[in-house]
């Protein structure tokens, strides 16, 4: 057993960053790609080795802690840079390095012709480092390092094409919105420090039951604040607004950061702190409601978006909502399970979308696609798998996790949330298959001989909505000089291979979570997580018949959604058009995402800006400086008065001298 083995995992990508910085200009594209992918591949290998080591231990000992050094120590408070591998972080680290590796490989194809190839991989590796720090940290503060680090990389990668205003805007928005969440998270962590005196998970969780009263104000406040952090990172109401805009980044980034890994950090954090959250039922309730509301709201918005990546973005927000309400109803294991399956199929969806976009020469508007199934067979097949997975059809991965969440919600008596989840599932199936149909089925709505099918293309719906306040559907026209023209064809191998691998995972990935009605006892996943999560959220187990009933219901609604999508967009597009016309106002509201961005702009961004301007122009320059300058002017005025005595005539001066002498005489006379 040659420890250390944990710190090497985040260190590998970091080393790649350093090497890239120092020697990147001499490596060339191949070298850079090799370096970046190699580092992440090695990190994956190291992670596998570490997890195997972990798995080899008995259940009680499944925890590896490695302390690198003391970060800082002030008074009685000290923070270590130390890493923790337990079953929970094991899942995360495998997902992150595994999916991350695939996406790195994919990126070598997708970004092949970008002039900033090297910079892209630099950021990507940096992201891997930060994300691995986040999941491997053994205390909240080190987690916060990763937490902010991924935020930074997200910022850099969203704004990767920095010459595009909308991209840098989106990056900035992501960072600032995340910061609002971080503000909450930081305060929450401070509550923990103030009461428990530590940020170390083990110590906090061990002492929490003695220090906090379950359901008390303090623990509720602390967990709520931490949840604010989670809403920022994981794009929940009210801080979800940055994620759809984040689609300005290159597609592999969307896949890696905004689908598979970073956005699930909030869920990970909540699950990691489940000991605390379980002590605060009010917070859990809030999480459940927020999660369900987000799942529904994002799904409704996703119904009408035309940009392929935006549909996926809202779908991600919606799926994150599922994860949160899983946590909210106490099904932390189910939440993490969904994190994992979602990572597989959503990464696949994004990469598939990327492949489509790549094939379509950076066209992202689904209204200008169609009929790609034959032209891009691998992409089509893998995308179809992922779409089925997310729609929740057994035995694909998404079914198992989503069903577990819904079942847990039902079992814990959260019927309203269960209903919302079910409704969300219908919409998910609908909009995902809408995406699939519009992209791969039907007739091509573009010039098949190459070139863009610009706005003349058949516009199935929403033509009246070409006005676009936020630059949606902007193409990735960022100086790529390739492929404006030429027929649509399948992507190269380094893009299709990752797609295939992820497709396999999207099918089989859910099987580890097959539990109760099919096998005896807890699912494999549940047993694996037991050392961390305890023996499960002790819900009254449902009868087998109920379980099967719920499954049937969930499959049924998914099938209904799929059927509707095919019907409205493939068989008789008139239905879709008719619906849009019938519910124009609703459609507009959805298309404009309930005008939330505009609302935030009106109530937060603009007032703050205006107020700042006033503060500066009025308070600083008029009031404070006015007083300062006023003192100056006052003294100047007094001096001006005194100056009147300085006539410049010697006679006057002589008179004053004499008067002075007289005064002196008077003084002597009086004394």
């Amino acid at each position: 057993m040659n420890l250390p083995m944990l710190w090497i995992i985040p260190a590998l990508p970091l080393a790649a960053v350093a090497l890239n910085l120092l020697f990147g200009d001499r490596l060339g594209k191949r070298g850079t790609a090799f370096l970046a992918c190699g580092a992440v591949g090695l990190a994956f290998a190291a992670a596998v080795r570490a997890v195997l080591t972990l798995a080899a231990r008995s259940e009680e000992e499944r925890q590896i802690v490695e302390t690198a050094w003391t970060w800082f120590r002030v008074g009685d408070f000290s923070v270590d840079v130390s890493f923790l591998l337990d079953p929970l972080s094991a899942i995360m680290v495998l997902v992150v390095t595994g999916v991350g590796f695939l996406i790195h490989v994919y990126s070598t194809g997708y970004m092949a012709e970008d002039p900033s190839f090297r910079r892209f991989f630099l950021y990507l590796n940096l992201f891997m480092f930060a994300m691995l720090t986040l999941v491997l940290a053994d205390n909240y503060l080190l987690m916060f390092v990763g937490w902010e680090g991924v935020g930074l990389c997200s910022y850099l990668l969203i704004g990767f094409w920095y010459e595009k205003q909308s991209a840098t805007d989106a990056g900035k928005k992501a960072f600032i919105v995340n910061r609002i969440g971080d503000f909450g998270f930081l305060l929450g962590v401070m509550f923990l420090i103030a009461w428990t005196g530590s940020v170390n998970y083990e110590r906090v969780f061990a002492s929490a039951p003695h220090l906090f009263t379950a359901g008390g104000t303090i623990i509720t406040l602390a967990t709520l604040l931490m949840f604010v952090g989670a809403t920022g990172k994981s794009a929940q109401i009210p801080l979800y607004v940055w994620l759809p805009d984040a689609m300005e980044g290159p597609t592999p980034v969307s896949a890696l950061i905004h689908a598979a890994t970073m956005v699930t950090a909030g869920v990970y954090m909540v699950v990691r702190s489940h000991v605390l959250f379980e002590m605060a039922p009010v917070t859990l309730e809030v999480i459940a409601i927020v999660g369900a509301a987000t799942a529904l709201m994002a799904a409704t918005i996703g119904l009408v978006q035309n940009d392929i990546k935006r549909v996926l973005a809202y779908s991600t927000v919606s799926q994150l909502g599922y994860m949160f309400f899983a946590c909210g109803v106490g099904a932390f294991g189910a939440g993490i399970f969904h994190v994992m399956t979602h990572a597989f199929f959503k990464a696949l969806l994004f990469l598939g979308a990327g492949s489509v976009i790549y094939g379509m020469h950076h066209e992202q508007d689904m209204r200008k696609m169609g009929g790609l199934a034959g032209k891009m067979p691998v992409t089509h097949a893998t995308m179809l798998i992922a779409t089925i997975a997310i729609a929740g059809i057994p035995p694909f991965a998404g079914f198992w996790s989503k069903d577990e969440i819904l079942a847990k919600a039902f079992a814990t008596g959260h019927y309203g949330i269960f209903a919302a989840g079910l409704l969300g599932a219908v919409m998910t199936a609908f909009y995902m298959f809408r995406l699939y149909v519009l992209t791969f089925q039907g007739k091509p709505r573009f010039d098949e001989n190459g070139g863009h099918a610009h706005a003349h293309a058949a516009d199935a719906h929403g033509a009246h909505m070409t006005h676009d306040a936020h630059g949606h559907g902007a193409h990735d026209d960022h100086g790529h000089d390739h492929g404006h023209g030429g027929p649509v064809k399948e992507s190269p191998w380094n893009m299709t291979v990752p797609l295939s691998v992820l497709a396999v995972l999207s099918v089989v990935g859910g099987w580890i979570g097959i539990g109760k009605p099919f096998i005896e006892g807890e699912s494999w996943m549940g047993r694996w997580l037991e050392p961390v999560l305890g023996s499960g959220p002790h819900v009254h187990h449902l009868a087998v018949s109920t379980e099967f009933g719920l499954m049937g219901l969930s499959v049924a609604v998914a099938a209904f959604g799929i059927f509707m999508a095919f019907r409205a967009y493939l068989q008789s597009p008139s239905i879709a058009t008719a619906m849009h016309e019938r519910f124009g106002g609703l459609h507009r509201t959805l298309y404009h995402k309930y005008w939330v961005d505009e609302f935030y702009g009106a109530v937060a961004v603009n007032p703050v800006y205006q107020a700042s301007m006033r503060l500066w122009r009025f308070w600083d320059e008029k009031v404070v400086d006015g007083i300062v300058n006023g003192v100056g002017y006052f003294l100047e005025g007094v001096s001006a008065l005194l100056r009147l005595f300085q006539t410049g005539y010697v006679g006057t001066y002589a008179l004053f001298i004499t008067l002075g002498v007289l005064a002196l005489f008077l003084h002597f006379l009086r004394s």
Partner: protein, 531 residues
């Protein structure tokens, strides 16, 4: 004792170098800057032992030097160093070297006088940090003002005279009050012990009736608050920074502002602990207002330097808040924030100076798309900006976090409001960065910008190194400052209790020489709090 008067040498070597530079031929630009650089480098190397020779565990003053200065008054030439002043002195010598290197090509007129003044300023700053005699402190404090005044007034921008006079008068207004307080301390000390002295350590032993402390504390606090600068007294800073030459801005931000917080830590707080307890909430709220206010106003600045200047107001608000929290984390955080601010904001000013030198404008609107033209510059800018924003892993985070933690332990609302500064700092910095570095190149002039020269890279390399060192492994810094900070904290609390206890009895003979202050609530500093 054959010990070298090391601290005196540290203080007076730059002065000697300044004089030597000043008598060089006026138009020998090259030799002048070379010699100035060599002097600053020698001084820095010479000060490096402060890092390891000042023994961290030993809390008191070390390397003390004591000579009679004005025996009648009991004023002494008394120098000494401890963890806090040692670190700040290191920051000073380091910053001066960086500033001189950074100003190599930017100063064309009267370069001889310029470099001489920078070196003289260094002497003044070091003296201020080292001296342990209040009269001497006052002398250094004022002496420091003159070179800075000239640097702004002669080498500044368009409104340099206004800015220089404003800077001078603001600081003077405060320091005059401080002088009065120093003198009244002296009288009280003389009455108490019969021996006239300005010695700081003697004052540390002087019991003062809580009712009497308030006015003296306010006088000290006013002087230091102007220097920090705290919220309503900050308006000299944007003007001074905008008009000052780059080197002046760097030194002003990196060191001069620290004089204020250092003054609180060394003088105002331990000397007048009971008054501090009364005033701390007000000062803390002013600091918090400063944090938010500075950030908000920074957001709307059209001028790069002004933006950085207002961000200084915000950052120094953190430093003050940490002090007012009156606990180990707050103190350490405050001290870290001082060092961080010195490094990060100094670097920011240098960065602004670099493009100013090339383009002769500081308007944000005049830039855009710099990443394409000057990538190395942009990357450095990015790192420095992130450190200023307080990204974990860079130095900024440690300070901010510790301050917030300290504030949180003292009062949750303090931390809650102050933490919004974390959001706002991201807002103004990222927005500025986006407008300057991202986007397409909108001004043709910017296409011809040249990237950093070797000398400039040499300037930024140590700054970046420090940013990461202090962010990743700040413990060496914390180890050095903590014994001292603990001692200050201990002393402040002890004195507060002692004087509360002995208010009526022991200090009765002193009578009410100073006007009695309003009744003092003499609860110990740990009040409210999270416990």
């Amino acid at each position: 004792m054959a010990q070298l008067p090391w601290l005196s040498l540290l203080v007076f070597f730059p002065l000697a170098a300044a004089i030597l530079v000043a008598i060089m031929p006026a138009n020998a630009h090259k030799p002048i800057r070379w010699w100035a650089t060599i002097a600053a480098l020698a001084e820095f190397v010479f000060s490096l032992p402060l890092w390891w020779r000042v023994i961290p565990g030993q809390a008191g003053f070390q390397f003390e030097e004591k000579l009679d200065w004005i025996p009648v008054l009991g004023a002494q030439y008394h120098l000494g160093v401890d963890g806090v002043s040692g670190l700040l002195a290191l920051l000073t010598t380091f910053t001066t070297l960086i500033a001189i290197l950074g100003a190599w090509t930017s100063v064309e007129k009267r370069s001889r006088e310029f470099f001489a003044l920078v070196l003289a300023l260094e002497a003044g700053m070091l003296g201020t940090f080292f001296c342990l005699d209040l009269l001497l402190f006052y002398v250094f404090w004022e002496a420091m003002l003159i070179p800075m005044y000239l640097l702004i007034g002669v080498w500044g921008g368009q409104r340099r005279v206004y800015a220089a006079v404003k800077f001078f008068l603001y600081t003077m207004a405060g320091s005059v009050l401080m002088l009065v307080a120093i003198l009244s301390l002296w009288f009280l000390q003389k009455q108490y012990s019969g021996v006239p002295t300005f010695d700081l350590q003697a004052f540390y032993q002087l019991p003062l009736a809580p009712s009497r402390q308030l006015w003296m504390f306010l006088a000290f606090a006013f002087a230091f608050a102007i220097k920090v600068p705290m919220f309503p007294l900050h308006t000299w800073l944007p003007d001074a920074h905008v008009e000052a030459p780059t080197a002046g801005s760097v030194i002003l931000a990196a060191v001069l502002l620290k004089m204020g917080t250092y003054g609180f830590l060394r003088f105002a707080m331990p000397l007048f602990p009971n008054a501090l307890v009364v005033c701390a909430p007000y000062i803390a709220w002013l600091a918090i207002i400063g944090i938010v206010y500075g950030a908000l106003v920074a957001m709307v600045q059209p001028d790069l330097k002004k933006l950085v200047a207002y961000s200084s107001v915000s950052h120094m608000g953190f430093a003050m808040l940490g002090l007012m929290a009156m606990n180990a984390q707050g103190f350490a955080g405050s001290m870290m924030t001082m060092l961080n601010h010195g490094v990060s904001t100094g670097a920011l000013f240098l960065l602004v100076g670099v493009i100013y030198e090339r383009r002769h404008t500081r308007k944000i609107a005049d830039f855009g798309g710099l990443w394409k033209v000057v990538p190395v510059y942009s990357v450095i800018f990015l790192v420095v900006m992130l450190s200023s924003v307080g990204l974990p892993g860079t130095n900024g985070f440690i300070g901010e976090f510790l301050v917030l933690l300290g504030a949180f332990k003292h009062s949750v609302p303090w931390a809650a409001v102050a933490a919004t500064g974390v959001i706002l700092s991201a807002c103004y910095m990222l927005w500025m960065f986006q407008r300057v570095v991202f986007g397409p190149v909108t001004h043709e002039e910017n296409r011809k910008l040249t990237d950093l020269s070797f000398r400039e890279r040499l300037v930024f390399a140590p700054l970046l190194l420090l940013i990461f060192w202090m962010g990743v492994a700040p413990q060496p810094f914390l180890d050095r400052m903590q014994p001292t900070l603990d001692r200050v904290l201990q002393m402040t609390n002890d004195r507060a209790q002692m004087m509360t206890a002995s208010d009526a009895a022991a200090t009765a003979p002193l009578a009410s020489r100073l006007q009695a202050a309003p009744a003092v609530n003499a609860a110990p500093a740990e009040q409210g709090g999270a416990r």
